[in-house]
Symmetry: C2
Subunit: 375 residues, 2 copies
């Protein structure tokens, strides 16, 4: 394995690209989907099974981990990889998004965000510098700058002020990262600007001048709808540095991912497969289904008899239905596993389609099979 | 594999024995511990991991399965083994014990027990014949007669009447089993009589005359305490047919099992390892510990670094502590797995000690290591 962080593109098909991010902890095949391991565990999954689904990298949430068990404790125990028994790459977010969505009594200033923990009410302060310090204590391979992520709709004036704050925080994050990080780690900047093309453009320009090894697009999938999200991608990705990975944060459902890959995105994370799996929703090649509905009570077929995933292949829908009806742990365990495998298989197929120059045909098939029209 | 049910003894050490029960679905090494898979799943465990701990057989609960998903549905789906993806032997209880402890408005008559489901309030009737019918629909390899299992203390008069009812039900169960069962399945009789030696003796005499392929001891671990339970075993097991497996129902903690093996018991089932695992209690060679206590928050050691069980070896106590504090699925998943592995390792060690004629030394070591004195 190499000791540097790097990205190499292997093929493209229109705006879509496929390649590999190399890190000291292993390679990440792109387009990549990162399962979310909020509190140091991809919920209801053994790490070995996360890997078996085909995941090259998982995401950890700085907000949750800084509150419990704390970044200092994780560092004392040897870092997040060792703590959660996941030796491969980990990306951590900055904590900013969850502070705004989960914490209490939050207050945003130029300095950062002060807030009260949703767990025990303790006061904390998250600044660009503190976020990087935490991410370095956790030891994540890809780290994110602190940013502000406003909901859409938002006025142009407010979106501009927010985007400019995020740019100043990008600069502070970068300085802190240069001081605290270890070789092979990478810090990504985050493009903001809501759904205003001029602001997205300014944001990207400011970040590109700082030369990050990767760029995220933040502030999407926050209420604007899929069509508007795709439109923003279409006007943004062509200006992004071609030789850097592009990460669309918090996205998405399979159709979101397919559409975003077609528009030049390389990395994704989303709680959809894990959260919906815990609630009885299974993603399949024919679209989603709710295993709790009565029609599955007598269905002897597994979710995917041809799958190489044991959760998809070795248990009938009737059994999964029974597990969910009975409130058994094994229901969420199996459906999460199945969903993550479905997602990773989708990524395998997308990478193969791009490499073969047949992404358009792949998307047509995907739309027909799933009934999704707006991809 | 053979097509008949049989039991062969390989060695004994005092009253303790080790051997093998052979069934068409595989062998059961005795003394055996059967993990409890109440509703068609050993809670929070993949079946492949249940097997990996060393379990040869699991237990299913007739009461739960008859109510949901129903025995008829399981039969239509190919039987319980296929339903839960466990191809090895399954023992089902008669449902009687759970009717008395879980259902509502239950009424016991000579005919059987009528009761209301704790799930949806529907009325049901469980008779010896219906219990066998259900167990045959489920397709279990070892089935249990319907019996009454009174709590201790109980008057001699009441215990006698109850024991005699159980004997009559044993006869009816046997007739029903002879009609409905398939080759290779076995029905066990259950010795009752509370803690009255004369009643236990009468019960055993009545059952032995019916010549069951195995005998259970019921009505213990119901409030009498460990010393009294061991005393009842000491007066009961010597009269039990030596060439038939002996099953102590619903027992127990590790010290209960070690003491009962020393008194001639071959089979056990108990929710202790699974239930306590879900609640943060880990069984170890040095006795139990509660992973949720603050002293484990910074403990970098796994539960058992020398174990060949991944749950015991690959995750620190600090991580397990964090998972339980955070309410994460993976906590119960890993601790259940660890506990079942601990139990099965105990059974391996007991079998080896008996085979080598060194059970006394094993028990002395067990008492020293765990601090248990009354074994």
């Amino acid at each position: 394995m190499q000791s540097e962080f790097s990205f190499s593109l292997h093929a493209s098909d229109g705006p879509a690209r496929t390649g590999v991010i190399s890190t000291p902890r292993g390679e990440i095949r792109t387009p990549a989907f990162m399962p979310v391991g909020t509190a140091g565990t991809v919920k209801a999954m053994l790490p070995e099974h996360v890997r078996a689904t085909g995941a090259d990298i998982v995401l950890g949430n700085t907000y949750h981990l800084m509150l419990r068990p704390t970044a200092e404790r994780v560092a004392a125990l040897g870092g997040l990889h060792k703590f959660m028994n996941w030796p491969r790459p980990i990306l951590t977010d900055s904590g900013g998004f969850q502070v705004m969505s989960l914490s209490k009594l939050r207050k945003l200033t130029e300095e950062g965000v002060s807030f009260q923990s949703h767990i025990d009410g303790a006061r904390h302060m998250l600044t660009p510098e503190r976020s990087i310090e935490i991410q370095c204590l956790l030891g994540s391979d890809i780290q994110m700058q602190l940013d502000e992520c406003p909901a859409i709709p938002i006025s142009h004036e407010d979106a501009k002020a927010s985007m400019e704050l995020s740019l100043r925080w990008a600069e502070r994050s970068k300085r802190a990262f240069e001081e605290k990080s270890s070789p092979g780690q990478a810090l990504f900047g985050i493009v903001q600007g809501a759904n205003y093309d001029d602001l997205r453009s300014k944001s990207l320009e400011g970040l590109a001048a700082m030369d990050f090894p990767g760029y995220a697009i933040g502030g999407l999938a926050v209420g604007e709808g899929r069509a508007e999200m795709f439109r923003v991608l279409e006007v943004t990705t062509p200006s992004m540095p071609a030789n850097r990975p592009r990460y669309l944060m918090g996205v998405g459902k399979p159709a979101d991912i397919v559409g975003a890959v077609a528009r030049g995105i390389d990395m994704f994370d989303c709680v959809a497969p894990t959260r919906s799996g815990r609630h009885g929703q299974a993603w399949t090649r024919k679209g989603p289904l709710n295993i709790k509905t009565a029609r599955f009570a007598d269905d002897p077929e597994p979710l995917d008899p041809a799958s190489d995933c044991r959760a998809s292949r070795d248990f009938s829908k009737a059994y999964l239905h029974h597990l969910f009806r009975s409130g058994e742990y094994l229901g969420p365990m199996l459906l999460t596993w199945h969903n993550l495998h479905y997602y990773q298989t989708l990524m395998v197929d997308l990478r193969a389609a791009i490499a073969a120059g047949r992404l358009t045909a792949f998307i047509e098939n995907f739309k027909m099979a799933t009934g999704e029209t707006d991809v």
